[in-house]
Symmetry: C2
Subunit: 86 residues, 2 copies
């Protein structure tokens, strides 16, 4: 059994309006950061997972992303996975 | 004026309890993903910024992270920045 560090990013698909991103963009403009645009806000998750090997870990992470960590109808995800160094 | 793509990740410092991460971990366990631990949930943001050069863009992004995108008392941030390819 090995342990893997996983970083998952989840964000709304480009076609879906992102009110939180819009609010952050307005706040940035109000505070003088005029040059910012296309602000999108998503989720960033870190977790550890125990698995027999990397391919089993990737399979579990993808299932998790599809079923729990993202809403595949509206969101896209990406992840990075590496073996934990102790 | 150049345009840069910026990805910002913000997460709670390790010493701060993360109730959302705890809830996600419980949900994963309930759904059969027993091997997961240390789940932490943070924010992931993407934005475009116009700046004279990379060093000006980095300076603006760091100020934004400190003042708007994160709460430096409780949170840590990291970002990646690269020039937008058109």
């Amino acid at each position: 059994m090995k342990t893997y560090d996983v970083e998952v990013r989840v964000w709304l698909k480009p076609s879906v309006f992102d009110p939180q991103g819009h609010a952050v963009e307005q706040a940035l403009h109000t505070l003088g950061f005029e040059g910012t645009s296309e602000v999108r806000v998503g989720k960033y998750m870190h977790l550890s997972i125990g698995a027999a090997d990397e391919s089993a870990a990737r399979k579990a992470v993808e299932e998790m992303c599809e079923r729990v960590l993202s809403n595949p109808v509206m969101e896209t995800y990406a992840y990075e996975l590496k073996e934990t160094v102790r």
